[in-house]
């Protein structure tokens, strides 16, 4: 059935990103579960609808969940622990997402110059996104 015995890609960079995608994916599941659990414990158990849950799962930051009904949202969340937690999460998620986008695009783009341009654009978007995320986390 299987055409190649190994699914692991060749080359150090590709292998590193292959491994990173798997490990960051599993870690992000853990992060999401902890964020949602903490939102329940810290007063949101009966206050969360689906959009509010997604806001906590993806980005547990007081500035991000301003629309939810959670009482005293600043008190439990505006501290260094959740700032570091959010940053770790954003760094893993951004790497996972932009590498995934790169892999999908490079399945369809074959011209070397275009590949180079796409990679440059993705690096700019990725780093820009990280700067914005760090700014938002530190400002709130």
């Amino acid at each position: 059935m299987r055409s190649s015995p190994s699914v692991r890609p060749k080359g150090l960079f590709e292998y590193g990103m292959w491994l990173f995608t798997r490990l960051s994916g599993l870690t992000l599941l853990l992060f999401g579960a902890v964020s949602l659990g903490a939102a329940f414990v810290l007063g949101g158990r009966t206050e969360l609808d689906m959009p509010a849950m997604f806001r906590w799962i993806f980005f547990p930051n007081p500035n991000h969940v301003i629309n939810s009904n959670i009482p005293d949202v600043e008190q439990g969340w505006s501290n260094t622990f959740w700032q570091i937690y959010s940053m770790a999460m954003i760094f893993l998620a951004a790497g996972h997402a932009f590498n995934g986008l790169r892999m999908v695009l490079e399945d369809y783009i074959t011209r070397p110059l275009l590949v180079k341009l796409v990679r440059t654009a993705l690096v700019v978007l990725w780093l820009g996104g990280l700067v914005v995320a760090v700014f938002v986390i530190l400002a709130s």
Binding site: P51, V104, G129
Partner: protein, 129 residues
Amino acid sequence: MTLNRRVSVRSGLRYKGRLGMANWLLHRITGLGILLFVGIHVVMGFLGQRYADNTAFTVNAIYQSWAFQLFVYFSVLFHATNGARLAVMDLFPGLIRFERELIWLQWLIFIPTYGLPSFIMIQNTLTGA
């Protein structure tokens, strides 16, 4: 072997991918969908908070509607369950033998985890709760 293009619509649409191909395709589509959703959400959040832009509030209202949430929840949960299966299979290659069973397990987790909240959301919408 050449590709025969003179086939009926029915046979052209028939699934000929092997085990996991539909999952592979859905994994890509949902992954790109999540990235697109989050990207637009970040830009609109910036426009809304900085400039109180009306487009941003409209997009936010669409994002928070129950119909769109069903769509987002499907994407996120499918990408999560399928991705977890892939990661476990790739990190422990001995489990590739049980791919079919793992796909069953994946859907066994997905269906109640997706179905119950969706049912509640639709019920709340219909009854106006």
